[in-house]
């Protein structure tokens, strides 16, 4: 195998919300929930995206329109090509027979969606700033929603909602993806309840296969050892929730960059 993008045809596009589109493409790569691919737009750039749908011969990524690259992706139409390479990374370790809770913040839901597809009977918490940012509502009708402005569901953060839920029930495992500060709080909360977490981190990436060192988080390569880490691992990773690494390689306080 060579680590080079293969051009795939976008065979379907789904508008998940005003800001999020899902791009379906045919392929037969052996994806595991939580793994990601590097998506290439020739001459523009290449960025990591989680696989958000895994079907027979078809997979998809769900993309939040944010900067230059995701704007360009959002302009793609059915039939257009994009380059992909992967799958990369260590995905979620799915333990069936447990009573898990999924906690997704914003586009973080994208990497949890295939976990939900793979596990029976999960509790799902999705948080967003407001109703218009909620995704996958038809796909997972049973989701418990929360928004910062209360425009739908519980008014508050996913952490607040999870705290509420934990008053009346208990979970064996929490799968979470979203803004790192949110995930940090989820992990802290779960620590108090002795619940194991599986957390998917986001770092700027270059190679995706463990040589460039760009995606470091306390000596762990998010592209290889991650993107999913367990609570136990995170407890040894000082940078978690605090520090990220910029394109230059400089350390930066999370959310200040």
């Amino acid at each position: 195998m060579v680590e080079q993008p293969t051009m795939v045809k976008i065979c379907d596009i789904l508008e998940e919300s005003p800001g999020v589109k899902t791009f379906f493409f045919q392929n037969n790569l052996p994806f595991v929930p939580g793994q990601f691919i590097m998506v290439w737009i020739p001459t523009l750039d290449e960025k990591p995206f989680t696989i958000s749908y895994i079907q027979k011969d078809i997979a998809a990524i769900s993309v939040l329109k944010r900067g230059e690259f995701t704007h360009a992706l959002h302009k793609k139409r059915t039939g257009d090509l994009m380059g992909i390479r992967g799958p990369y990374g260590r995905g979620f370790d799915l333990q069936t027979g447990l009573n898990p809770c999924i906690v997704g913040g914003g586009i973080g839901m994208a990497s949890l969606a295939t976990v939900i597809d793979s596990l029976p009977d999960v509790t799902i918490v999705q948080g967003a700033r407001s109703a218009s940012e909620i995704i996958y509502q038809k796909r997972f009708p049973m989701m418990k929603l929360c928004t910062d402005d209360g425009s739908i569901g519980f008014k508050g953060t996913t952490v607040d909602l999870l705290k509420e839920l934990l008053k009346t029930q208990t979970f064996d495992k929490v799968y979470t993806c979203g803004p790192e500060r949110m995930m940090y709080k989820v992990v802290e909360l779960c620590k108090n309840h002795e619940i194991d977490c599986a957390v998917s981190l986001d770092r700027y990436m270059k190679c995706g296969f463990g040589v460039c060192g760009q995606c470091d988080c306390s000596g762990q390569r998010v592209c290889i050892e991650g993107p999913v880490f367990t609570s136990a691992e995170l407890s040894r990773m000082e940078d978690f929730g605090k520090i990220t690494i910029l394109k230059t390689g400089e350390r930066a306080i999370l959310y200040k960059h």
């Binding site: 060579v2 590097m38 290439w40 040589v211 460039c212």
Partner: protein, 307 residues
């Protein structure tokens, strides 16, 4: 059984537990990663090259592989000397000597960075004058000539007492002349080699070169015979030790490079081929081979292919 075999080497008075060195630009972005590589058995580790100012480098894709090796045009992304000085502290906690890699556009840049890093406990300074794919640096800035090599090495010599390793390009037919210029200017070792080329890979379905910088340096298996030849030639031409780099991912490769004349060897792309544990694996394979072939001291194989 194998207790008689020792891999330890003395490189410019730096004691290394074994001759494997993490090459610059691979995993050398943070202190924690260097530490991890050392824990995985590297005899020494090199940081990713540092310039005076922060650099974002080229856009992605910056690193890809092909059937015969790797192609990269990272473009010397680095946080600049000030942030690097903050990053690379407490190096004594790392279980292997740490080598600083220093780049610049003008020769004064090199000395500025070396001085900026002088508080950190680096064991040596490596200066790559040989990158084939970053405007303003290396070959694209004319640093691959005997004159420029002499001038830059002298400048660095002026500001540091640490051993200086000058890293050369395999592209240049006159590699020995350049190495001699470095030696004359006070270099303590030659690192041979940097990536070759540049090369280009086009995705035919996209009808475009894959790397955003279009071209990049070729490393890995493709580079190995060229690197071995460079080291073989250098061994005859210079007196200072050589660190052989290029396509090493097994103990046999490492021994081949040392038989050509290298006193120590660098591993870069090998981290991809065999994982971060490549250093341990290579050392294990070297020990095994030495044991089976009656060598006790790794030093005894250096340059043996010339005999």
């Amino acid at each position: 059984m194998m207790s008689n075999v020792t891999l330890s080497v003395n490189l410019c008075n730096i004691p290394l537990a074994n001759p494997t060195i993490l090459a610059s630009g691979i995993l050398g972005t943070t202190r924690e990663l260097l530490k991890r590589v050392a824990e995985n058995g590297a005899g020494a580790v090199t940081i990713k090259s540092i310039s005076t100012e922060p650099r974002e480098g080229h856009k992605n894709p910056t690193v890809i592989t092909f059937e015969a090796g790797m192609l990269n045009a990272v473009g010397y992304s680095n946080p600049g000397v000030d942030a690097a000085a903050r990053e690379f502290t407490k190096l004594q906690d790392i279980n292997a000597p740490v080598i600083a890699s220093v780049i610049g556009t003008r020769k004064e840049d090199f000395s500025r960075v070396v001085e900026g890093l002088s508080e950190a406990k680096f064991s040596a300074i490596e200066i790559p004058l040989s990158c084939p794919h970053t405007p303003g640096f290396g070959l694209l800035a004319g640093q691959g000539t005997p004159d420029a090599t002499f001038a830059i090495t002298s400048e660095v010599r002026r500001v540091t007492k640490l051993p200086i390793f000058v890293k050369l390009s395999p592209n240049i037919p006159e590699i020995c002349t350049i190495a001699k210029a470095a030696e004359d200017a006070g270099a303590n070792a030659i690192t041979a080699v940097n990536s070759m080329g540049p090369g280009m890979i086009i995705n035919i379905d996209a009808q475009k070169p894959i790397l955003s910088f279009k071209v990049g340096g070729v490393t890995g298996d493709a580079l190995r015979p060229i690197a071995v030849r460079c080291v073989y030639d250098l061994y005859k031409a210079i007196k200072i030790p050589i660190i052989g780099v290029g396509g090493i991912s097994t103990g046999r490769h490492a021994i081949e490079m040392m038989m050509a004349g290298a006193s120590a060897i660098g591993i870069g792309s090998g981290v991809y081929y065999r994982g971060i544990e490549v250093f341990k694996l290579v050392c294990g394979e070297m020990t095994q081979w030495m044991h089976e072939n009656g060598f006790n001291n790794i030093h005894d194989i250096v340059g043996i292919a010339h005999g």
